[in-house]
Assembly symmetry: none
Homo-oligomer: 415 residues x 2
């Protein structure tokens, strides 16, 4: 079963925006055994969209489009579909009412331009959009199908998950899926990870490996296609049981689970509370911890002590340390972790200080130098890192390393 994805938008052709929508759709479609045989991006124009749709309509039985469904004059996908498939636009009162209601709920009057949202190519069905005003569109013609979705990722994903997936399940339910597993590691470079697991990597039998590096670490993805679900899962489990012991403590999660979720679950299980004192990460550690719903059960507070005065006043870091060893030092980070733990009266305090860059580096203390400390009621652990990225990357890596220290501590693995 082959499909094509057409994404619409000048911003996709000017290089201003990455096309993340089609990557998302391709991954989701593969779960129904649907291969994407071509992806096309075209500008906001009736001609180019219509041309791309006509071509794809000749080649494959399923087309997905994203973008160009907004109410304004640069959104012309519906006009293009009408022309390409010879189906004039028809006003749907039902959609109009829904859009008006959406504005009414926010206490606003619907701007007139939103009437356009209620126009669909004749004979088309539609998917409810719970995240915006443009409905998804479904056109069925013999064994050919076209699904048009908005370009805003959240709306596109919402409609896809709530409307399109149930539809695809009805139509293509029986296809053998692609089964995937993901192992998430941190603290190892891609090549080092590869060396560790090389001997169990050999592929074949529909099994495929992928290394997906990011600033949080390297994810290892295993994928089996072309097999029945049970058989595929058995094959994956066999491989995983060989790989896990080789990864040891570098493995922090399996599947779509983040480090902050892992830390949250461990804190809840241990019934311990955490507080954080951050300098270079500037609130990113607190932000990531509180990204997790329910984090108020284990995260008491964070302080972003950017100024030395704040480190002294709030956390009790002695002023003289800033002169003798400097704010980016094991001595200061140790006091930060201890200080925030005492201030918040919690079980665990973490402290992060470093030089994120671009300025502030020196020969002795280069950009990327970061100290992280964890303090409990009995002891303090301090670790030193030298990250080699830019400001943003150093901050991301610092936050990941800090959360990983909490994880290792809660597992009794902090040395």
């Amino acid at each position: 079963m082959k499909s094509e994805i057409i994404t619409v938008g000048n911003e996709l052709l000017s290089g201003a925006t990455l096309d993340t929508n089609s990557a998302y759709l391709a991954e989701k479609l593969s779960e129904f055994g649907i291969l994407v045989s071509r992806r096309t991006s075209v500008p906001d124009g009736v001609e180019p969209i219509a041309e791309a749709v006509e071509e794809a309509w000749r080649r494959v039985a399923l087309i997905l489009t994203t973008g160009g469904l907004g109410p304004t004059s640069d959104d012309v996908t519906k006009k293009a579909l009408a022309r390409a498939l010879g189906k004039p636009l028809v006003l749907h009162e039902e959609i109009l009412k829904k859009v008006e209601e959406r504005f009414r709920r926010r206490g606003e009057k619907m701007p007139l331009v939103n009437q356009n949202q209620a126009l669909l190519p004749s004979g088309a069905k539609w998917f409810v959009n719970n995240y915006g005003t443009a409905p998804g569109i479904l056109i069925e013609d013999g064994n050919k199908r076209l699904i048009a979705l908005p370009g805003v990722p959240r709306e596109m994903k919402g409609i896809f998950e709530e409307g399109v997936i149930p539809y695809l399940r009805d139509v293509f339910g029986a296809a053998p899926p692609v089964i995937r597993r993901k192992l998430r590691t941190t603290g190892l470079a891609e090549s080092a990870l590869y060396e560790k697991i090389r001997r169990v990597i050999p592929e074949g039998g529909g099994l495929h490996f992928a290394f997906l590096p990011s600033y949080y670490g390297v994810d290892l993805r295993l994928e089996v296609s072309g097999r029945e679900k049970e058989e595929a899962e058995k094959l994956l489990e066999e491989k995983l049981s060989k790989i896990r012991p080789l990864l040891g403590d570098f493995l922090y999660a399996e599947g779509e689970v983040s480090m902050e979720q892992v830390v949250g679950r461990l804190l809840l299980a241990a019934q311990k509370k955490l507080a954080a004192a951050e300098s270079c990460t500037g609130g990113l550690v607190a932000k990531r911890i509180t990204d997790v719903p329910g984090s108020s059960d284990y995260f008491e507070r964070g302080v972003v002590t950017y100024a030395n005065e704040a480190k002294h006043q709030l956390l009790g870091v002695p002023q003289k340390l800033f002169k003798t060893v400097g704010a980016v030092s094991p001595e200061v980070v140790e006091r930060m972790a201890k200080g925030v733990r005492r201030l918040a009266k919690v079980d665990i305090g973490i402290g992060v200080t470093g030089i994120a860059g671009p300025g502030g580096g020196s020969a002795g203390k280069p950009v990327g130098l970061t100290f992280i400390a964890l303090s409990d009621r009995k002891k303090v652990w301090v670790e030193k890192f030298i990250f080699s990225g830019d400001r943003e990357i150093n901050r991301l890596r610092g936050s990941q390393a800090a959360l990983n220290m909490v994880r290792l501590y809660l597992l009794g693995k902090l040395k």
Copy 2:
């Protein structure tokens, strides 16, 4: 001048890899006034690549491809070019020597499979690859041109910058570029923004508008192509001078400037220092402020007072307020802003409290309800918002609204 980009690789169609190459190329091409009229991604196969190349060759005068130039059996772009353009592959001794030398320098013997690197479609020229073994390929045929580059971003960019740019400069040097301007607004929905500026929108004369909504607001992009630089800039300035007054205070920046940068510049100019007390945004406001290098000059500290006890102890919020009006209330956020300003001894304090979701909402206080306060030495301003997103979106919108309050305050526009 129109061009198309074709990217080759199964990983681009499975959703495993984002197509960053074509975004890079599109942006670079626009500097030569070359518009990308279509982007296509096809899998690693002679048929699909050849088909896409044949089609594009009919439509435009310049094609760029990336990917499929490696030495292994799944790299078939050259075979596809040979078939599509009727130019059989020819071995180039000169390239072979360069590849062998590359291996020799690393003290290795060239694996035989790398001989493939020396094969080019007949009549093709090539660009040196200083970052890998696959040279870039240039095919010229009348006024038609095709440039094939490797898919590894570093190699692709290296060849493009060192070889392709000088070539394009020779060939298209005089072409008028695409000139862009961006106006960034916050606090207005896309349709409301459209209504505001509708009467000055009419396009034509090479001028094009685009609305780019995100959780931070809506960006308005103006673009002029096909005109001389000076003329284009004059046309843009004329339009901008009409649009700016219509946007008023909703306009927070022009160009690639973020809200946190705007706030930073205003704070520096006013020589004022800021501190932040966050509940629902959990450190995101502090994180965004400190994303800006040099922010230590105006950001003294942030506190993430997630627990009520922390709001009381650090910020002096009276305990009884949590019972009478609750932590998410104008009364509490006012004390948070005042409290953090006094604690940090700075000019401006901001406080954010709200219900980010998914839990914690009620009929009277729904998920998305957010209060933001700004306190200076004389006065406190409190604003109420009801955001309609999920946890992540509510937090992003809350951080943007908080920073926007600081901006409006510093501009003397806070009512």
